[in-house]
Subunit: 190 residues, 2 copies
Amino acid sequence: MPAVLPKRNAEHLLGKLDSCELAERVLGVPLFFAGNPQSFPLEAGMDSFLEAAIEEARKGLATGGIPIGSVLVCDGKIIGRGHNQRVQHGSVIHHAEMNCLENAGRLTASVYQRCVLYSTLSPCPMCSGAALLYKIPRIVVGENVTFQGPEEYVRSQGVKVEVLQDATCIQLMRDFIKARPELWNEDIGV
Amino acid sequence: MPAVLPKRNAEHLLGKLDSCELAERVLGVPLFFAGNPQSFPLEAGMDSFLEAAIEEARKGLATGGIPIGSVLVCDGKIIGRGHNQRVQHGSVIHHAEMNCLENAGRLTASVYQRCVLYSTLSPCPMCSGAALLYKIPRIVVGENVTFQGPEEYVRSQGVKVEVLQDATCIQLMRDFIKARPELWNEDIGV
């Protein structure tokens, strides 16, 4: 069971429980990880979060969309997943990270502040801004070779931004940009 | 008829027509204003755009939501309207400006670059980032007394940001924050 509040009708719970506490109560066991999300290491097992983001990117590609995926991780568990929905839903705001945050639902500030946001691609100004709004302390980026968002600005606001330069992420975007340059340009306002 | 492309199924039009050209063809008359959106003056009549944003904020309040509204103006015409949808749609990304951009639909870069984004409240980091992503050159803000986003950063990126300190906008937010502080805090990640 994902450690999330139901997206709707959860207002009465906010301020009483956060999603991780809720998950602990439901599961009856302590959660996998608790601590400062800026300090926990990118161990071998942690790459599974990037794998999950890549899986989202592939889902997007398979449905005719732009292959960018994202997951939101709280206390070592994925609590939200999403991918770019420009084509599928005609959306100008559902970039992968935004779609992931929306799918995670309404969360308390204390949850966001224990989260790591994974994205297969360097977050654009909008998605970077969303991470800053919710004070997500750490962002793990698949690659910034094909596109680079305002990483330095985000770092200047106290967020830890790590770039993995993952070969699969780079290839997904290179192939897509070559095949659909006009769609890619639209997605980044060019 | 609003000067927007249909939100879905519009991909074939993108790159061939932009929304304002489309509106001109439909209406058969030149549009009200064409020029650099950073330079056209805030005449008395232009305040009607802020009025439209306030109307959106009131709609949001009337449906149990957070009273922040926004309109997107291209060549002197409103091409998108929206308001905060945190309560109504359980959304963490549909701030007023985001909802407005989403409602405006997929637009070409050349349209965004002729736009002015109006908001009753100073845009947060996410909404500011969305304006930067799409290179919207001008933002008109109802007030920044009750909340202030990263206006200086946005200005440093070449965007003209004007703050009107409108008494109605201030009162709407003051009343709301007093009545629902927990909801307001959630909306700004506090």
